[in-house]
Each structure stands twice: as C-alpha cells, then as structure tokens.
Symmetry: D4
Subunit: 235 residues, 8 copies
C-alpha cells in the first residue's frame, strides 16, 4: 500500500500548479499525497470566498481514500474573511472527515511562533486588495509587518508560471533590515528550490506558504523527517 506511514490529503484551488509538485518532491519515505480541487481562476476576494463552498465536497472525496490528515493549501483562501477564518476552515474539514486538518493561514502563524518571529518582511504575487487583507490578518494576530511587496498578479495561472528565481529576487529586494524573518506568501508561488539559499544569503529565517503547510501537516501526523527546506524543519 502507498502511504503506509501516513496518507496526506490536499484540497487546493483548481488552477494551482505548484502545490502538488512541491509537496510530492519532498514527501517523506512511506507517505503518499492525494488531491482534490476547488474551482478558482482568479486570485481576488470574491472568487476566493466562493471557492470555499467546495470544502465539504472535497473533504468527502478525500475521506474515501483513507487519508490520515488533510491540508487546505491556500493562503489568502484561508484568511480572506479575516481573523478566525483559518481555524473555521480547519474545523469544517475535521468535523466532516474525522481526521486532523491544517489550513495555510493557520500553519504560517504556527511556523512564525515555532521560529519565534514577531516582525516580518513579506513578498507576495498578489494584487493590492489581497495584500492589505493579509497584512491586516497578520497584524490582528499580533505580528508586525515591516515591509510587504506584491507582484500584482490576479490570474492564478500567471502566478504558477513564475520560476523560483523570480521569487528569490523579489525576496532579496524587500526592505527587511528590521524584520525577524521573511515570509513568502502563496501556495502557487514557487519557493522550495530557493528557501535555503535565501536563508543563507539573508541570514534570517524564511517561511513560505507551502513549506509551513507541509511542516504543519507532518507535525499533525507525527512524521518528522529532516527536509532540506530551511530552519523551520530544524524546529
């Protein structure tokens, strides 16, 4: 059987082309990944709110695959309605499937806390409205946002078409002098190839949406390998 050590379910926006490969390429020995999709084309508040209507259907699909935990892989999709929305998503999945769930917006806060980061410089691919919602969400959760820059991309497919080099260069250009760490937002924005180089070159912890979600999900199922994805995995 695949997934004898643990099976992970993943619910993600249909147009996301990054989350599945990033998770698969770093899955610990003995784990398997199984995906269900929610329809989304554009990364804006209205579309993200509509998308959440599919959470229950996707949860039911994954439950038939006997998954041991479910990750909800979307950053803005789990914070778009503000404080508390992330835990609400987690609860809806857990109640339905009877297994633990993590949602990206909650996972990144757990990652910040594990690394003891209070202030952050943030790189995103988002449009202005989503950037503001993310900043407010983090501030209400008690974190200071030192700098936040976005690429102004609304089509989610355009985000997935970027290369990790783009992400590296955007993160290098942030004004992060005062920040405890750097956060790169969006599960469709590639970071796994460059997170360790960024940490070396910036000499600061770097948290990214997919890295934090994977770390949180692995914690949940009690599988804790040494992944080459930055300091978070040494916590």
């Amino acid at each position: 059987m695949y997934g004898w050590r643990s099976r992970l379910g993943l619910i993600l926006p249909s147009s996301n082309t990054t989350n599945e490969p990033e998770f698969y390429n770093h899955l610990p020995d003995g784990m398997s990944l199984h995906t269900a999709r929610m329809r989304l084309e554009n990364a804006n508040a209205k579309a993200l709110e509509d998308m959440a209507n599919e959470v229950e259907r996707c949860t039911d699909l994954l439950a038939t695959a006997d998954v041991d935990a479910i990750a909800y892989g979307c950053t803005t999709g789990s914070l778009v309605k503000g404080a508390g929305y992330d835990e609400e998503i987690e609860t809806r999945i857990e109640d339905r499937a009877g297994v633990p769930a993590v949602a990206t917006a909650a996972s990144i806060k757990r990652a910040f806390d594990a690394l003891n980061l209070r202030s952050l410089a943030i790189a995103t691919p988002y449009i202005q409205d989503l950037n503001e919602r993310e900043e407010r969400f983090l501030q209400e959760a008690g974190y200071e946002v030192v700098d936040l820059q976005g690429l102004e991309l609304e089509a989610n497919s355009a985000i997935g078409d970027r290369t990790p080099e783009t992400t590296y260069r955007q993160a290098r250009m942030l004004n992060h002098g005062d920040a405890d760490g750097v956060f790169i937002s969006c599960t469709n924005y590639r970071t796994f190839e460059i997170v360790e180089q960024l940490e070396t070159d910036l000499d600061k912890p770097v948290v990214t949406s997919n890295q934090a979600t994977l770390w949180d999900a692995l914690q949940t199922v009690g599988v804790e390998p040494d992944l080459p994805l930055g300091r978070l995995f040494e916590c």
Copy 2:
C-alpha cells in the same frame, strides 16, 4: 513554472491511492501532474456507472490548470458499459477541455497493439462481474483471453492496500503458457515496482493499467522518455 515541458491532468476515483504515486514517481523531467477526483467507494458496475457523471466537472477543474492532456485513470470505469464506452469517455473530456484525453480501457488496447499481443493472460483484483465485463470487452475488441483470475475485492480501498509483491505472485500463478502477454488490470493495483522483474521471469511482455495509461498519455503530449516500466516503453 512546473510542467514547462508538459502538464498532465488526471481524473481518478476518489478512493484510488495508487495512481497518483505511481505516476509521480515516474514523471519525466519537466512534466507535472494535477489531479481531480470522482466519488467512488466500491468497485462494482453500479458505482462505476454513477461515478462517470462527474467527468465534466473534473474536466473543468483541470482545464483551469492549463493542462496539456488529461488521463482518465480507471480501467473498469472506462469499459463498464461495453464496447465504445472508452472512446466515448475520451471524447467527452476532449470536447470539454480542448486538449487530448486518454482513458485506461482505450490505452491498454493501444498498448496491446503496440506490442503486437493478440492473446492475454489477465490478473485483476476485481469481483466476478467486473472480470466478466472486462473479458467480454476485450474479446469484442478482438483479443483472446487465455486465462483471467481475480482477487474478488470489492472495496476499492482494499485493492489499494495490496503490495506489489501480491501482484507479482498473482501474475506468476496465471496459466499463461499460450498467451502472447500478460495484462494486470486496475489503476489502483500496484505494478510499477515489479513489471520489469515479471517480464524477465515470465519472458513475456507485461501490460498494466497504470503503465499503459501513462505511456499513452506521454505519447499524446509528445514526451517520450526511457522509463524503466517494461517493454512497452521501448516501443
């Protein structure tokens, strides 16, 4: 971007836990895989027929990920209604997504022809009714079925819990003296680890549902690597 060489979409039964890992572990460099699920718990004719109602919804989801082709990963699900049903499934997906599609029941016939196999010994995990439907489907397509043995498993999750060693031993025990080749049916039944050992030990070509579907999908997008999955990939 992931999938710069080609992006493959996969539509599969929700309880299938084998197809995604087998495809991911052998994906050619530069390709990515994106999944959508149709609800299915038991492998019987009624459930398989119902499942097909979700083809269009799944196709729409994958279309937003800009996939270059779509595979319908279910053997009995694409032959349960008899001759012609496999091509019908392919056509419904192609018409909707505007990209080429392959369905397992059609892919295995293309594989048999590529290897020039006219008679087959067949191992399946299925219950008797599905075995009979599969045999009839192949006979009507002009192939001779020399032997066919099933494990009598109806719960799809039970099929996915088997190990490749089980598959190897079942295939060794077939009466295949007169057959041109061996076929191992079901995209939820593990074969990728043992297909080449089986070919060596039986000294015959071995076709399996996932192997044939992957091979067919790669042909469709024009990416043709040397995968260590048996003689079919040398065609």
Copy 3:
C-alpha cells in the same frame, strides 16, 4: 575464509523466513552466518515446547562449522516455560558447543536495560495465550507492560508473510503514551526496515526481537559496528 572476523551460528524454527534475511542484510563486514533449523509449524505453547528438544542436535551441527557464538532466534520459544527458561536455553547451548550463546527472550531484557526502559508498549503477531505468557514473563522480570496487542496469527508462515508496513502501522496504533519504549516481538515478524522511522515518529526507543538478538550476539563476539537499526546500537 568467510567469517574471519567472527562466525555466528543461528538456531531457529524451521518455518521462520524472516530471521535469516534480516541478519544477513545487516551482518558486519567480515562476519558470516550459519543456520540450523528446529521443526515448528504453529506458534502455540505445545509446539514451542516440543521444538526445544532439537536444541542439542542443532548445536552439534553448528559446532562443526567452527562458529564463534550461537543465537537462539525465537522469542516465545525461549520464554514459553516462564522465568529462567531463557537462561536455561543459553546454558544448554553453551555447555554443548563451548562457545557463548544468546536466546531472544534474554536478549530483549538486556536491550531494555541497556536503554533503561522500565515500562513497555508491545506489539506481537501472536495468539492470546502466547501474549499472556510473554506479558507474565516480562512482569516477573520487573518490567511494566503498558499495552500489548496481538495479531492472533497461529501459523508461523502467516507471520512471515507480513510486510514491515504492517508492523509499522500496528506499532503506531499502540497506546504507548506512558511507556518508556516500544517492543515488537517475534523473530519472524519483519522490523528492520522500519525501526528507525518508528523511533523518529514515536520519539521513543524501539526494541524488536531480531534487533535485540543481533545486538546481543555481536556484543558477545566483540564486534560492534554502527548498524542503522535504532538507538539500541548506539548504546
């Protein structure tokens, strides 16, 4: 000559198909393994007691191969008659062959002590009667049994047909919250592939029958390599 560093003799139940491969795959450079078999088909008390009549004959056979030590590879077979039976088996072999001997039921106690484990959660493939005898044997030796779960398999060949994945999942489901460590019993039950992953995921020491017997035998002949078989080998 094979075994220039040390030759290890192994006496085991005839139906055991796991002990030889697990030992061979981890034998230190310069060591060799030589086997003699005692007839056993079912793992129950009566059969195990009868089996012991062959100890002397097997010892004599191995003595002609100039072995430097002898391992008696059977857990319940060296505890079935209760406290003291394990050392009795060791003495019978040593007196006959003139070289040191270890018996699994004694080796696991040495392993618990080396790791400083006083309370244990235990997974076995055994029937209820053998589970109770093992629990009593360990309690009389001063260890606390926090939980003990068995697979209820009596045919020894059925135990050897299990995969390490089965063992992993059984051990994960134990109630081990209060235990100092986990013990997986039976030299015919596969554990070598997953003992280190279990220790990582449970964050506790894991002792298994074959691991403890091999460790004890290597101590006896003064060959002490770094084997990737868990914390016991770091003692």
Copy 4:
C-alpha cells in the same frame, strides 16, 4: 514477506561455511535463502555416504518454510555413489517436498552442456580418493578430464578456511591447454570473487560448484537475473 519472488531452500553439510555467504551475496532481488544442515566433518567417501541419511529430515524442515525449490549443495556428496546418484538425490527431495530440487553433481553437468564443454581441466580441494570418484563420474557422463589437481584436504573446515586467491592460483596452474573449460569443484571452496577474472585471464569458461548450483536453482524457479558470475549466467 521475504522471498516474494521466490524462496530457495538449501541443504548443505554442517561444516560448510562458504555456500551460504556465496549464495546470499548474489541472491536476486526478491528472493530469500533458507538453510538446513546435515552432519559432516570430514570430506571422505564414508562420511559423505552417511550424511545422505539426513536428506529427508532436512527436506521436511525446509518444507515448513514454504520454499519454492531446494538445492542440495554438495558436489562429492551427490556423486559419491557413482552414476545416477545425483538424480536419485534430486528425486528423493522432490518426492518429499513437492517442489523441484537440484543437486550440485547434476547441476554442473547441466552447466557444462549449456556452455557446450566436452573436456575439462579440474581443480579441487579433495583427497585422492574423492578426486578419482569425481573423475570417473564425469567420464561416465561423457566428459573428458584433461587435468585434475587436488589440495589433499580432508577436514571440511580446512577447505572453508581457504581464500579465493588460493583458488585462483590453483586454477591458473592447471594444465588446461586442450580443455574446453575449467571446473572448480566443491561448494565449500570459494570462487565467486574470482570466477570472472579467471575467465578473462584464461580466456575460457569457468564452472564452479556453487555457481552452477545457483544457476540451476534459479532456472528451476524461473528467476533469471544478470549475475556477475561468469559466462554461465549469459547462457
């Protein structure tokens, strides 16, 4: 389960310390080896004849391990009573266990024929009487013995204490100008490390007792890998 591809049983003289390691180090993926011993200390005709009384007991032991075939690993032990004795041993095992069996003295003849060797130069570790019996056995089977040299060792443990370098040098010193090939006799005499170098340096096929027995046993169970043990495995 170990041995999912095939399980091989091995019956060998108790003082043999070479056969188990040579087989284990070259066992194909998915196969396992299980041993039973017959008492033997000295390599002479009387002792070898007595040893054969244990064939049935050993066969019964291995049968409980569900082996798929049994090898009788002793050259002179399967020819000491002259022509036909080798097939007699095979038949006794097969009748008892219900699985195919091979005996070394028969396996080497199958190897000579596969390589098309009619005349042989022979190196053995044996005393004169056994050398003569072996020569007669092969002549009666229709092979020409061009040269035959023995080390005059009677204690079987002394044979097992030799290194492969000894074997190489003995084989190089044979008068093999006219021979089709070279045969190195005795399953306790090490050859696996040097069989390919010998073939390169002598520019002739080299058959050895363990190599031929393993090759024959693998043919029997239909597992045919590429082992680096000389030209015989290319047949």
Copy 5:
C-alpha cells in the same frame, strides 16, 4: 596552465549574459575560455552594425592571452549586413590574430550542412526586422524557412533574462511539420539545458546559436569530445 589542451577566445556583445555560462559549463577538460566585450544594449540593426567597429580591438586583447582560436558569439551581429558578412567577420579576426576564427552566422550554416538540413523552423527572441534579415540571409544561403516566430524583444538584457523553459515552449509551438530541423537563434537565448529534450520530443535535429558556435570552434582547434548537446555533436 589553464587551457593546455586549447584556449578559446570569445568576442561577444557586452549585454550578453548567456554565452559565457553556457560555454563554460560545457567546456571540454583541458580547455579554457577568455572573453572580450563589444558594447551593445539593444538588438536592432543599427546597434549591431555599430558594434562591429570593436572587432579589431577585442581581437587584439584576446591575442595577448595566447588563445588558439576565437569565436564571434553573435548571430544577427554576423549576418546583419547580409550574405558574406559572416565570412568577412571571420577573416578580419583571423588576419589580425593569426589564429582561426568562427562567427555564429557561419557556424550555424556549417551545422545545418553537417546534419544535412535543408529546411528549417526557426524560433528567435528578436524584433521583426531582425527576423526578416535572418530569414533572407538563410534563404540566400539556400535554406528553406518553413516557419519563423520571434518574441519581439529589443533590449538584449531582456533576452538574457528568459529561462530555458521559455525557449522549449516557444520551439514546441512552431509549425515544424515539414521542416528537416529546428533552429533556435540568438547566443543570448538559453538552450543548452533543453536541446536534447527538444530533439527527443520533436524527433528532429535541433541547432542553436551557442551550440553551433561551440561545435564549430571545437572543430577548429581539433578537440572533439562527446558533449550532451544534441545530435550535432554526434556528427
């Protein structure tokens, strides 16, 4: 000394950031590369014509490094003035330095001829005017241009910022059904990572500016290694 086997000089547009790394990463053992730059910011006819005034100065610089040959690494820069301009550039360098020289526009024709390609589908990053000049240049040299698509980039730095994935996808989209082969133009446009995958997926020879120039330069100095850069290096 570096370059004991051969030293290669390279003259290239100052804004080219691709040619040096592509050559360095594939330089045969014992060769070294030494660069001189001609000022160029935009890839248009006027700027390319002006740039050529620096050929002699760059040649003189490289001559002091005792190079064994000089490559002029610019496609449009060696064809912008039409038929014959490529050989004129080569002659100016050779006369000045006393060593052989190759210019990209001449090298690609030698590559086409070595591969026996008469008709080509062409991908470039250029603006329309340069595309037309290149098409005319090749037609006058006797080649048929089946299709030609450009990215319309004028800033040379923008060309160098593209990834090989971009190049792969552009080349896949050409209408190359009737063409003998595919040509990817521009020494600042990355191709070395994907030239072999393109040849596999298109099943046609692929020539690129840097690949052809390096191949031609290596021919000139008589160093002919097996580089993994497509069929041209098997000529």
Copy 6:
C-alpha cells in the same frame, strides 16, 4: 536567466588566463561571471599604470550586462601607485556603474584582517621592482613582511603558464617560521587547487589574490557559500 542569485563582473588584464577559470570553477550556484579586458602584456610598473586607463571603458561594458558587483582582478595593478590606489580604483568603478566594486589589493587586506594576520610570508611570480612595491604597500598598511620571494617573471603569459604544483613548492620554501600566515600574490598565478593542502601542511592560513578577491566580491553581494578554498571562507 543566468545570474539570478547574483551577477559578478570581472575586469582583468588581457593576458590573464587564470582568473576566469578559477572563478568559474568555484562560482556559487545561481551566480554568473562576465568579463571585460584591459590590455596588458608585461607585468611591470609602466604597463600596469597605462592599463588603468581602460577601467572606465570596461566598467561601462559590464554595466550593460546588469552585473550586481564588479571585481577588479589585478594585484599589482591596484597597488602600483602606492597607498590609497586600491580604494581609488574601487571608487572609480562604483561611481561609474552604480554597483559595489572590489579591487584585489584592497581585498587581500580585508582578508588579512578577517583572519587576523599581522605578519606575512609572501610568494609572488613578479620581478624585483613589483615585489618591492608590494612589500612597501603592505608595510604602509601596517603589515609586517617576514619573507618575500619572487619568480622574476615579467611576461604575464609566462605566469599563467605555471601549474599549481609550482606555486605549492614555492610557498613551501618560504621562510615562514614567524609569520602569522602566507600570502600568494597575483591573480594570474594558480592557487585554487592547492590552497587547502598548503594550509594543512603549513598549519597556517593561506591567502591568495584570487581567493581573497572572490571572497570579498561574494561578501559584497551577500552570497556566502562554503567554498573549499581555505580558512578565509570559514570567516
């Protein structure tokens, strides 16, 4: 794009054949190197002073390649006019290109300070006059020169023709008993293959012109890998 992590420009004497290969062979992942040449044939004071007239032209060329920093790779060329000349060169480049610059004569002082070296034994390939200028330059900067030996080579091409073995043996023969460390001067004199062996065998830090310049340039762009180039890279 090449150089997504950082692009390094290099200005060097035209006859230097060592600096480019030494830098390229040790460039961190994600960096690229781009070169511009200043005319120089002989390593004497007059020629080195003239050469500096080309600094601005070379800077302009590299600026069009969007480099993130520029290294001026010449030791005596950046100290020939005495104290302060090294910083003057750096300032001229920085003012012109708008990016940070390092010059070898300044980089070696930064390296000495990072390693806390106050007294040095020095090996050079230079003629007497340049040796004296270098000694004076270092003394005025506050370092003690314990020993200084030169090879008396004036033709720069002759320096580049030496092998690292020559450098090793010259450095071993210095009288360095009292020195804190050893300095090997000249960016055209090969040291990268032997710097770590020298440090091991002398048991002292070793600084070399190319090693210090590369280290300083990497500091400047904030890319700090573990290069196997001696203790300086552990600072």
Copy 7:
C-alpha cells in the same frame, strides 16, 4: 611532476611484497613513492645484519630521484643489534642523502609515545629468536610487553603470503587484557585493511609496523592527511 607535494624514498628487504602496496594504496594526494631493495630471503638475525650493508648503496640510488625523505621499512632489521641501532640506521641515511630518514623500529616507539602507550600485547610472524630480540629492544626502551605471540615463519616470502584476515585473528587471540595497546610487527605482514576494525573490536589503539613508519615519514615531510589507518593518524 609526480611527487610535487613530497617524494618519499623507501628502502626495504628484497623479498618484502607488502610494504610497497600498503604505502601506495594510502599515499596522500600529490606524493610519490620510490623504492630501493636490499637483498634478504630469510628473516633471521644473521641475514638481517648482513642486509644492512646495502643501506648506503640504496640511499645513493634514491638520492638521484630527488626524494624529500627516506623510510627504512624493516622492523627487526632496524633493531636486530639492540638499543640504539634504529637511530644509527636513520643517521647513516640522513648523512648520506641530506634528507630526513625514519627507520621502523624508531617509528613504532614514536607512535607508542604519540598514543601514550606504555604496555603492549604484540603479534608477529617471526621465529622465536627475533621475537626475543624485539621484546628486549622494547623493554630496554621502557615499554612493558604484556604478551607476545609469533607465527614462527622464517622465509620472508611466507610472511608476505599471509592475508589480513590471518593478522586479525592472531591479534584477537592475544592476551591483551592489561595492555594499553596492541602492536603488530613486521613491514611484510599485512594490516592496513584491518587496523580500524581491530581497534573497534578490541577497543584499544593498534600500532603496526607499516602504519607507524608511514605516519612517521609523513610527519617528517610535513604532509598530514586524514588516513583511515586507526587512531595514530588522529594524533
């Protein structure tokens, strides 16, 4: 040139077949070994004393090869005349060649002191008379000999014909309970393959003739690599 880092000369008995291969297989990068032979067939006092007459001739031969140091590779040959003879040999070579020299009998004492060993258990291949001379030599130098066992071999070629397995087993059988360490004597007796396993299994430092001589010679030329030859090389 070979030996650019250092050239080592070796003077050894003509019948020694072990010293050259053991040194060559562990020579640090950049070193070379050059040999001269003194006639010796039997390892007895008379022959060893005569052999020493050739020291000067051998020294002269090696001097023409520009060696940087000379090792006299013979244990009993440098102690056969008692206390002080080892240093006398070293002085004779140094005076003649003008480079440092080491003799095995002096090197082993330096090794004992580096490891702080005062009492030793000793394994040799020698006859009784040489064993007594060695014991006396070491006692007079202040070391305690806890046990000393010899193989009683007089023909030096017979010593060289032994395998490292023989050495290992002889050393394991010493009575070394009270000894600080183990010494294996004779430069013709193989130890390099087993010195680290012996140290692990005995849990004591092991010094051997060739290991100590090589270590001492490397110290002399100031080349100090990490060789996998036991704790001595960590000193």
Copy 8:
C-alpha cells in the same frame, strides 16, 4: 598476499620518478608491483651503457620477491647499443630469474605491430644524440620516422619534472600528417593522463613508453584488463 593474480617486477633507472606511479595507478586488481633501481643521473649514451651493468643484480633482488614477470623500464637504455640490444636485455633477465621479461624498446615494437603502425611521428624529451639513436633503431626495425622532435633535456630528473600537459602540447605540434600513429618516448615522461585525449584529438593511435611496457608485461602474465590507456589496450 599482495599480487595473488600476478606480481610484476620493475627494473628502472634510479632517477626515474614517473614509471612507478604510472604503473601503480593503473595496476589491475590482484596485481602488485615491486621495484629495483639501477643508478642513472643523466640521459646520455655513456651513462645508459654503464647502467646496464646492474641488470643482473636487480634481477636477483626481484627474484626473491617471487615476481611472475619483470619489466625493464627504460626506452633508450634498451636500444642504446642498436638493433638486437632490446632482446639481449630481455634474455639476460629471463635466464637469471626464470620468469618472462620485457624491455621497453622491444615492447614498443610489439605495440606498433599490434596496432599495425608502419610510420610514426615521435616526441621525446631527449638530447639530439639519443634521438638519432632511437630513429636509427626504429628504421632498422623497419618503421618509417615521419617526424621526431626532442626537448633536449639531459638530466633525467628534469624529464620527470614535466607535467602531462607539456607532453600533450609537444605531441600536438608534431608534423604527423602522414604518420600512421604517434609515439611518445621515455618511461620518465608522463603520458597516462593524456594518451586518450591525444588519440581523440589527433584521431590516430598513440603509443607511449610506459603504456607499451605495461601492456606487454600484462600480456606476458596473462592478465588482460580494460585499462583506459588508449587503443593499444583494445588490441
């Protein structure tokens, strides 16, 4: 024992520092090399003739090491007295030691014949007189000398101080247009690192003194591995 497959003795000029390392680095598995030296400082006719007086003494030394063959490693030393001198040297060694011998000047002729070379371009490090003797020797043996260039080095230590890069460049500069192959003379002149690159770049067979002598010696002892030393080893 070292050299269980074969032991090779080597007689060479005392100042030769290349022959031992080149042979050792390419010695087939199971072979060992043992050296004896004849005094020689300068490579001129008088010194080479005197040197030959030591052949018998060196032969006797190597005979005590039980070598299986002896190589006389000196090109001009085995041809200085003209036609027939090479075979005379071989005969003197064979008569004395009772094992086969090869001398370089004879080995190269055997190599030319094996490769079917009748005309040669020759690179040597020698002075004019030795070059003329070599040319005459080869002409009298029936070979045509198309070109012959020497480095005019008389001190043998100076020859050994050259690097393989020097040899490569000298061989490239020969006028070898009409020659069947290239010959690089002198066992003290390094060629093993570059012989295959030379053959690739010149597209002709290359024979060198050490390569031919090693090949010839291996033929003699019947050990014939695939060494990466050019086309001669494919004969």
